[in-house]
Symmetry: C5
Subunit: 185 residues, 5 copies
């Protein structure tokens, strides 16, 4: 099920494990954002790798980063991460302002991100932070950290297959804030 990307010139010298599946995660981010969300995504991938190694799984994850001015520049960056940089999945990191025009911009960016996913048949995990969803900068930072971290893990799970997240279906899971949990009847 895993495709092995290999340029044909990799020498198997004993240190390099052959047949290790290499997956490429694209991470697109913006100058507009007031928080460097990339580092949280990177941390999630690092933590995930360590856990996988502990349990003996050898999927190797490479990161391609693409930085653009603002959220409206993200969709084509994601498209290029798929088409030109051969990514298997993308995490799109953005922050949205609190004025009506900002909300319109974010909506346009989200529609573009839908478009890219359907053109490429690949997932883009949209991690957007809205400046008006927190009362303080500290709280906003914490939401950004948690949402980016969780959605990066979601991206890694989706790379493994369509049922990897199924045990959590219908469980009221949130990213960036506490889970709400399932309705109990």
């Amino acid at each position: 099920m895993e495709t092995i990307k290999n340029d044909g010139n990799v020498k198997n010298d004993g240190n390099v494990k052959s047949n290790v599946a290499i997956k490429k995660v694209g991470i697109a981010d913006t100058m507009f954002s007031r928080i460097d969300m990339f580092k949280f995504a990177e941390q999630a991938i690092k933590d995930s790798k360590e856990k996988e190694i502990e349990i003996g799984i050898e999927v190797d994850i490479e990161i391609e980063r693409y930085t653009v001015p603002g959220v409206k520049d993200l969709p084509v960056a994601c498209k290029k991460l798929f088409d030109e940089w051969d990514c298997d999945i993308v995490v799109a990191l953005g922050m949205s302002g609190s004025m009506p025009i900002d909300k319109t911009c974010t909506h346009e960016a989200s529609l573009g991100i839908q478009h890219v996913q359907l053109d490429t048949n690949r997932h883009i995990l949209e991690v957007f932070i809205h400046q008006d969803e927190a009362m303080t900068e500290k709280e906003l930072y914490e939401i950004a950290r948690r949402r980016t971290y969780s959605h990066t893990l979601n991206a890694l799970a989706l790379l493994k297959g369509k049922a990897t997240l199924t045990p959590k279906a219908g469980m009221g899971i949130r990213q960036g804030k506490d889970d709400v949990g399932p309705i109990r009847i």
Copy 2:
């Protein structure tokens, strides 16, 4: 009219009825939802099969399930259920929050779902539950149960042909709540 999917290696040993049409129903659901709507869809398919067997029809239904974080991840999951998992129809199960941003997300998901249907020429039954359409969690759960069940049956009907639902046209049918019925003049 029915296409038979067969890998060529199915042995007809007497137990396996040859020429039974196999249909694949994709079911996409989310971790965000507070209700495991999948089980209602599964129940509808099971009940339908039993009824069909009673009256001697032998269409076999297989289910492919795809779980994603939230509603905005559903469109590409539906696309992949068609393109990579060979589904004939998809039921998309989602729950939407009650904040304006949630409504925007749901709208973006719905536009994506339109896009997928038109790209693939196949139906996606969109089963979205809105947290503000019920006063209590119990009521919300009941809406989710009924809407999922009814729309899964609608999916099975649409698989049979374009006129299967015609006897109910113009009858004020609702899913999740009581039918309103036709206007009588």
Copy 3:
């Protein structure tokens, strides 16, 4: 200008007039609607045929009907009426609720219908009835009857060519309600 659809096996036995252009009108409708709008469309086609016969025109109209749950299922039904049922034009019949979510759904359906028209280069006459445009059920029924009837005639006119409706251009024509008429300066 008219394309003759003929499967090659039609025998010209004297009763069948050869070279009669056959046009297929698709009619998509919903279970959600509280009014069976299909019958008004059918009546318009019947009445039109009779008038044409009176004046010696022999275009034959066939109807393909496709029934879906609600307005959001109409776009792909229209697409299939074109691609799988070979329709030349489609009339899409729907009723929209009066809640904000209903208006969003109708907007999504309308965007899907735009998409289908541009993918296929064929017209879809969108006949949507809004539950809040009338004070009484009787009035709503009358709007539905008149709008469906008029737009079905518009569909038949568009089938004949791009200038068939030109004599009525700029005349303030309405469907379902009285014409407003042109501004007189």
Copy 4:
């Protein structure tokens, strides 16, 4: 730069100037509109031709007119004017009502018109009159006349090349109302 459309059978008899570039302008209009905007477009083309002849230019303009019920039928009409009638540019004439539903319809039409332009790489000059932008019918008529006339001239200018309108860039030009003019610092 100009493409010469010629069916190959045009005889050059002395009266017909050979190598005259023929351009086709599509004009799509509606029955819904309360003003026959087509005649203003036609006048603009006629006036433009006369001016060109005065200064010795021999570009010949042909008009293809397409009439549809309302603004939502315009996008596919424009698409057909390009694909089936070989137009080089289209002017889309519409009037929009003043109710919220009318504004939604116009928005859907405009999105469709965007779609057509990007599919065909050709301009559509959208001339939409909004019933609520004038206090009197007379004023509305005058806006319609001026906007249609100006935008038709814009269409003819765009046919000549991408820099034809450049001398007017940033000048606060309006169509249908008086120009606002540039900001002077």
Copy 5:
């Protein structure tokens, strides 16, 4: 990584440096705008070239300008700058009015610009000035100047690669107004 555009007939006579990468920047602008934003874009490119020459880099930038009536005409102009004029990136300059209809138009233009980017896999830097974001004409002019200048530099940076802007990621950068800066925790 750089593609060299060369018509094959360039003679290398000593003055022409061979292997100099030529990049084409498209600039689309409008007659509607009350400010000639093009000149700010041109200045940014000129300033950038001078800086590059100082440090010995020889990328040559050519400009293609396309002027249209208003923002809704920009998307297809951008598309043509890519497809017919071979631009590598486009800067789209527009001004938006302050009425609701103007905001809708700008939204439609922005969606079209998303569409073009995803069709062509190239960036369009959207530089839109909103008449209601400033109290005075002088302030509006200054926003236009700064936003156009900054986004043109962003365009040049994106031409160099996907990580050129990475040092500024998450830094709360704004165009047209002062940077907000990163959140410090």
